[in-house]
């Protein structure tokens, strides 16, 4: 188990890095797919098999597909994912340092948390038993009893998503860039091409 865990961990890190560093968005999607799959495995290892399944169904089956659609949609444009000039070049190093420092400090401090903390959670209020922990039944029962309210709210969250997307996508009026702005865009594009397509 431990070896598997480490393998999964390495896969997770690697695919995460791949996701953010892939040169094309499609590769990122593929990396993310791998990441999610590995994540699902690790969920199952944590006795959360239902979540593992959900992870695959929703993320891989729904969200990533959406991403692919959008990539396809936007790629049909003039120049697919051509990148303009980097307007924040100077920010790269400070950003990297900030992230590294934050991460370093956190790991340094959290390294002390090796085992489960010996502080009392109110376990008595937790529904379900150790034997059934993580099962669909256990999960479902909690979801429809104790956590009924959050579940109801998600209904409206999804409703918002549906209505919002309909309104946004159903927007017939296409914002025309002003001629001046279009010229600017063209110029920037030319510059990018002349520089030999950085990134």
């Amino acid at each position: 188990m431990t070896a598997l865990w480490w393998l999964i961990a390495i896969v997770l890190i690697a695919t995460a890095v791949w996701t953010i560093s892939a040169s094309k968005p499609v590769y990122s999607v593929v990396a993310l797919l791998a990441h999610f799959l590995a994540l699902a495995v690790s969920y199952i290892m944590l006795s959360a098999e239902f979540l593992g399944v959900i992870q695959i169904v929703i993320y891989v089956g729904a969200i990533l597909v959406l991403f692919v659609f959008v990539i396809a949609l936007l790629s049909s444009g003039v120049a697919s994912f051509s990148v303009g000039p980097n307007r924040m070049k100077k920010g790269v190093w400070p950003a990297g340092i900030a992230v590294a420092v934050a991460f370093g400090l956190m790991t340094w401090k959290l390294a002390g948390v090796v085992a489960s903390p010996k502080v009392g959670g109110s376990l008595s209020t937790v529904p379900g038993t150790a034997g059934a922990f993580g099962s669909v039944a256990d999960f479902g029962k909690a979801l429809f009893t104790t956590y009924l309210l959050p579940f109801e709210i998600t209904a409206f969250v999804l409703m918002v998503a549906v209505i919002g997307v309909i309104l946004l996508a159903g927007d017939r009026s296409v914002h025309d860039p002003s001629p001046k702005r279009a010229a600017l865009v063209r110029r920037e594009m030319r510059e990018a091409i002349l520089r030999g397509g950085e990134e």
């Binding site: 307007r87 924040m88 920010g91 400070p94 950003a95 900030a98 992230v99 420092v101 934050a102 400090l105 956190m106 340094w108 401090k109």
Partner: protein, 650 residues
């Protein structure tokens, strides 16, 4: 102790002033008569109060009227005692005559009523000054006479020179006011009261230094008001005012307020030998300086102005060293003869259509015999020729300096007497003897700016308008001749004179040591010097040869006048440089540079910095999503760093 008649003496002129001011357009010519009437009534009331003013009741002298109080220590009242009685008599009496004279002199002036409003107001103010029983009231009067003087000097306010002279007089007088204020503060801080009675009773508790300071500051006020060196420069300029004003304010009454102040505060001075020395010295210097400068003037009124300054120097010297009776006596006689001199000069000026330069006069004795007589008696009086009034009073002062142990001042007094005789006779001879020079080209006479000669045709323009009856101007002058000649006999007779007895309670005669030179010898010495002075004047201006080439001689004298004399010892320039220019420079620097550029500049700088901060904030607001994300992450990193360090400290 109430004496309501005092209120009448005091307030009648004020009523006249208010009536003339507000009803001026309706009263027209009657304003003059109204003012005279008010003042006349006041004079009558003064005369009726004579007995009350000299009474002794319960250890207090004179009549007293309580007015009111502001605060504990700030109580007001009126007091009529021999000293104020003398002043009130002169103010209302001589004032009345000069008012009468003015009815003729100012006839036809378009601000006729306003003139009398000011004049009456002045009398009111002067009465406030001398009748007050406390320092605050005195200060009130002190300030108000300065104001009246300001108005009257600048009476013809469309004339820039008059405006400037008025301003100068006013500001210097405020310097004097401030001096008195300082003295008041010291007195109040030490004695918690400002009434004369309390202060003089408590004088023993003051230290020598404090007393000297009080006297010195009081004297600053006296010097400013009474044109003592170096605060005298306004007085000659003040001659810009109409001649009756010069007679009343700048000769007879207001300028002697300093004398009054010192005489009033005699208990202070008596306790401070330092103050006596200081004031006596300044008085002597002023007497000498005024006399010397009097020899170098050509304007008839300026000659009289310097002579006034010089004579007041005598008075101040007298009261300063402790010869109070002498100083006051000289004030008394001087009020008559100097008023007469001014009024006589006014007759001349009036007759010559405002010509004031004596070089353009000459031979007027035939044309204006009455004026000549008036001027002549006045000159004799001021020279101290017996039996004219000046003889008695001046001798008292000169001898008083010696008697109180100031031989140098004694010498100065005698010398000044000679010079006085010289320049007053010079005035008389040049004006009235010889041939009339009014038709001589001014440049032949050495007049440097002929176009500025005299004070131009603003004064009343008498020749064009219908003349008032001549007697209105002549009668007052005629009346004044009588006291000019006779009043000195009140002082005749040393300690047994009426004058001495009158003031016996006011100025208790201290122990006067025997002097090396007796009073009689002094009289003779002074007379000799005076005769010498007259002799020189006769030699220079009145001999036949001198009169024949008068034009030539006057021009030579004008051209060769030493610069130090024609610039009046550079007092004006020095004061201007020291105080006026420096204040103006500072004011300009503060107003033009420090205020807008440094102080406000700093504020603007701060505001600009805030604006600059605004641009910094906007600079971070690049519009780029990743910048914002970057800011968030940096903020988060700071949070994390904080919690990493702070989170473990438990």
């Amino acid at each position: 102790m109430h004496y309501p008649l005092l209120l009448a003496i005091w307030l009648l002129p004020l009523a006249g002033a208010i009536l003339c001011w507000f009803l001026g357009p309706q009263l027209k010519g009657a304003a003059g008569w109204l003012a005279c009437a008010m003042l006349g009534l006041s004079f009558v009331a003064t005369m009726l109060s004579w007995s009350s003013g000299t009474q002794h009741v319960a250890g207090h002298e004179g009549a007293h009227q309580l007015l009111g109080s502001w605060l504990p220590g700030f109580d007001f009242g009126l007091l009529l005692d021999p000293l104020s009685l003398i002043w009130a008599t002169i103010i209302t009496g001589v004032g009345f005559l000069i008012h009468l004279y003015s009815v003729g002199y100012m006839h036809g002036d378009r601000a006729f009523a306003r003139f009398f409003a000011y004049m009456n107001f002045f009398v009111f103010a002067m009465l406030t000054l001398v009748l007050s029983d406390n320092f605050i009231g005195l200060l009130v009067g002190w300030g108000l006479v300065g104001l009246a003087s300001y108005f009257l000097i600048g009476f013809w306010f469309d004339r820039p020179s008059a405006v400037a002279a008025a301003r100068k007089a006013f500001v210097i007088n405020v310097v004097g006011d401030v001096g008195i204020m300082l003295a008041i503060f010291i007195l109040f801080a030490n004695l918690h009261s400002l009434s004369f009675a309390d202060v003089f009773a408590g004088v023993g508790s003051l230290s020598t230094g404090t007393l000297l300071a009080v006297c010195a500051f009081l004297f600053v006020g006296a010097a400013a008001k009474s044109a003592q060196v170096p605060l005298h420069t306004w007085l000659p300029d003040a001659m810009e005012g109409p001649t009756p004003v010069s007679a009343l304010i700048h000769a007879a009454t207001m300028v002697t307020a300093g004398v009054y102040l010192i005489a009033r505060c005699a208990p202070l001075w008596s306790h401070s030998s330092g103050a006596q020395l200081l004031v006596g010295t300044i008085g002597g210097l002023t007497a000498l300086a005024g006399a010397i400068l009097g020899t170098a003037q050509w304007d008839i009124k300026r000659i009289l102005a310097y002579s006034t300054m010089s004579q007041i120097g005598y008075m101040i010297m007298g009261v300063g060293v402790g010869a109070y009776q002498g100083g006051v006596a000289h004030f008394f006689t001087h009020a008559f003869f100097k008023a007469q001199l001014f009024l006589a000069s006014g007759l001349v000026i009036h007759a010559l259509a405002n010509e004031q330069d004596v070089r353009r006069m000459g031979g007027l004795a035939k044309k204006l015999p009455f004026a000549f007589v008036a001027m002549g008696t006045g000159v004799l009086a001021i020279c101290g020729i017996p039996p004219f009034s000046g003889f008695f009073s001046k001798d008292q002062v000169i001898y008083g300096t010696l008697a109180h142990g100031h031989p140098w001042l004694y010498a100065v007094g005698i010398l000044t007497a000679g010079i006085t005789a010289y320049y007053m006779c010079r005035l008389l001879f040049v004006t009235f003897f010889g041939e009339y020079r009014g038709d001589v080209d001014p440049s032949y006479l050495g007049i440097r700016h002929p176009e500025l000669a005299g004070t131009a045709a603003h004064e009343a323009a008498p020749s064009t308008h219908d003349h008032a009856p001549a007697w209105i101007m002549s009668v007052p002058v005629g009346i004044l001749i009588v006291p000019t000649i006779t009043i000195g006999f009140l002082m005749a007779g040393g300690d047994r004179s009426w004058w001495s007895r009158f003031f016996a309670a006011q100025f208790p005669a201290g122990h006067v040591p025997a002097t090396a030179i007796s009073e009689l010898q002094t009289t003779l010495i002074v007379l000799a010097v005076v005769v010498a002075g007259i002799g020189i004047a006769v030699w220079r201006y009145a001999t036949r040869t001198a009169q024949d080439d008068a034009v030539e001689r006057l021009r030579a004298e004008s051209v060769h006048m030493p610069a130090i004399l024609s610039n009046a010892f550079y007092f004006d320039a020095a004061l201007d440089m020291l105080f006026v220019r420096s204040s103006q420079l500072l004011g300009t620097f503060f107003g033009r540079t420090l205020d807008p550029q440094v102080i406000d500049g700093a504020v603007r700088e701060a505001a600009w910095s805030a604006g600059k901060l605004g641009t910094i904030v906007r600079w971070f607001q690049t519009g780029l999503l990743r910048t914002y994300a970057f800011l968030i992450v940096v903020g988060a990193a700071c949070f994390i760093a904080y919690y990493a360090l702070a989170g473990g400290m438990h």
